[in-house]
Symmetry: C2
Subunit: 342 residues, 2 copies
DNA sequence: CTCTGTTCCGGAATCGTTTCCAGTTCCACT
DNA sequence: AGTGGAACTGGAAACGATTCCGGAACAGAG
């Protein structure tokens, strides 16, 4: 069953059928109706492979996601997919694993499918640089900043990480915490890690304090095991800590488990501040005090930015999304309890 | 840059280039080498849309996933994608939301792409029946059973749910629990829910007890909120319960939060048994005692089953995967503590 | 030298669309 | 009635691969 058959059955040419199927003008209502009737009767769907071949570009938008375990992305994926669908487009999802293999595979795929635009969910700018620098189609990076890279095809939309980290650190400092450890990021630091640490240091600085980066920062992968291992290492090195600032909620949960295994209670002995605001943060034990990223906004705006540039071109844009500190039960107020000063 | 350009540069015909690219015989080593050199020099990739058009089938395998929040599927997705890649194929992921809209959209898409096979991760057989009954390509359903449906294109691979529920219930009964509530499934019961409840009832029956389905079973969505709400409803209706058997770890975590909000401790006041064995089960507080599904096996075998039937045809098969009860800290032994008998 | 068979090769048809372009119809207006 | 233009229509040429099929080259046998 092809467009040709439909044309024959409807008594018209293939060009007319194509026009009807694509909602183009220049078709009389009478003809349109007749064609639609035949299409409906046979439940006909045009072959998308042929369509894409002719149109020389894939209407599906590849969405490349960094890892499957960070639940922040699970929510983003769902919303991105929905927004793309609202715009009559499809999301083609790919999960990249840590290794370069996955990125290379995805890059090859992008060459073959010839997409008109790509959406990145997370992932370091460095990885992008390595595998996708040759891509000319417009791209958008969510939860990461591309401003510093200056690619002429990569926009980005990220939470105002410096301000968020400032507020998170201030929240801890205000509650009497001084010995604060930081969990997250990789060595060497990515842009996003740099900005978060900058916010943290500003919070310390504004109170006349300094943050001992070398001792009290521990890089870690953004998953449970990463948080667990990093927290153990950090607490072993700095047993004096009264609070941990983690760069993701999943990491925070791994850290909480590590603290528990070390016989430390959260938040009575050690406080934990999360980052992301995934749904789980409001259900886990204890509930996480965390920085909520606005995934709804990011998904909507990210898709908008991408489609806009796919349609009309223009230079890449760099935007920041608002955030909100959500209080849970994972941070203790040392001024009241008076336990373990430092 | 097309195959024609390559042919021109290599001084041969397009047919020869195509043969080389697809590793077919009937090409002299000399020519093959020359073509490969040109291909490598220009980093040429054949247009996959044209290829698929001619071959009349998409090599990508649609993978339809039920919801983004159930982390069991996150792991499965990752492994399925990897296995498909090992077989030289690509996964095309689609997340279905609860509403019929998503399923209808996915179904339309599957018709358009004309895939040679489809993989379902979770999802009720009922949903399949509604939207995909017309699909003739072989399909495989993971974590769900299709045996009872008798479609001639739908294989399935599921944990031996009856046996798993039997073991889980026995575990609780052995530790002195009698007032056990069940969280999960939907009304009316799906095949998978039926089998799990059957296993549970068998465990009760083997001890001369009966399970009061009407009072002590509460259906719920497989996410945090679903578990939370259902646990509250159930505990309100049956405050005498000493244990909850939930049909997913995520649900269990929602339930644990609900119990906490009701002032009940886990496991001291109420025990919770999970199902799935997601990574989070070993990190959350308290660690979950749960039924581990073998996602590694399911992903590998699921892909095998699908590709096998795509290549060689044959009738659908129905297999079960092994499971393992993993002990955490969410179940109390009433015989020792002697608290709250029932 | 002729014949047969194998190996290698390239032209051309094909897949199912979209889109260009030329042609037809039809209507309103001089 | 004649004309201009808009609205509509359908044939045919792409799009970029795969694959059928016939032909060329060459070897060995008779």
């Amino acid at each position: 069953m092809t467009i040709k058959d439909i044309a024959r059955l409807a008594g018209c040419g293939v060009a007319t059928v194509s026009r009807v199927l694509n909602g183009q003008p220049d078709v009389s209502p009478r003809t349109r109706e007749r064609v639609l009737a035949v299409v409906a009767e046979h439940d006909f769907r045009p072959n998308s492979n042929a369509r894409r071949l002719k149109q020389r570009a894939d209407t599906a938008v590849p969405v490349l996601v960094q890892g499957t375990q960070n639940m922040l992305f699970a929510g983003l994926v769902e919303q991105v997919q929905a927004h793309l669908r609202d715009h009559g487009r499809q999301a083609a999802l790919y999960y990249l694993d840590e290794d370069a293999d996955g990125a290379a595979f995805a890059a090859r795929l992008c060459r073959e499918r010839r997409p008109a635009g790509i959406l990145f969910l997370g992932g370091t700018a460095r990885a992008f640089q390595r595998s996708f620098a040759a891509v000319t189609a417009p791209c958008v990076l969510l939860t990461g900043s591309a401003r510093e890279l200056g690619f002429d095809n990569l926009s980005s939309l990220t939470t105002d990480d410096e301000a968020a980290a400032f507020q998170a650190a201030s929240y801890l400092l205000d509650r009497g915490h001084r010995a604060i450890g930081v969990l997250g990021g990789s060595r060497p630091l990515t842009q996003i890690g740099l900005r978060r640490l900058a916010g943290l240091e500003r919070a310390f600085g504004s109170r006349g304090l300094t943050f001992d980066l070398d001792r009290r920062w521990e890089p870690c992968r953004y998953d449970l095991e990463g948080g667990y291992e990093a927290a153990r290492r950090l607490m072993e090195r700095c047993p004096e800590l009264t609070a941990l600032f983690t760069m993701s909620d999943v990491t925070a949960m791994g850290a909480i488990r590590a603290l528990g295994d070390l016989g430390l209670r959260v938040p009575e002995d050690v406080s934990v501040m999360g980052y992301d605001g995934i749904p789980m943060a409001r259900y886990c034990v204890p509930r996480l005090t965390t920085i909520c990223q606005d995934t709804g906004l990011m998904a909507r705006r990210g898709v908008e930015l991408l489609l806009e540039r796919m349609d009309r071109g223009g230079p890449p844009v760099y935007e920041t999304a608002p955030f909100r500190l959500q209080e849970g039960e994972s941070v203790a107020d040392l001024r009241q309890s008076g336990k373990r000063g430092s």
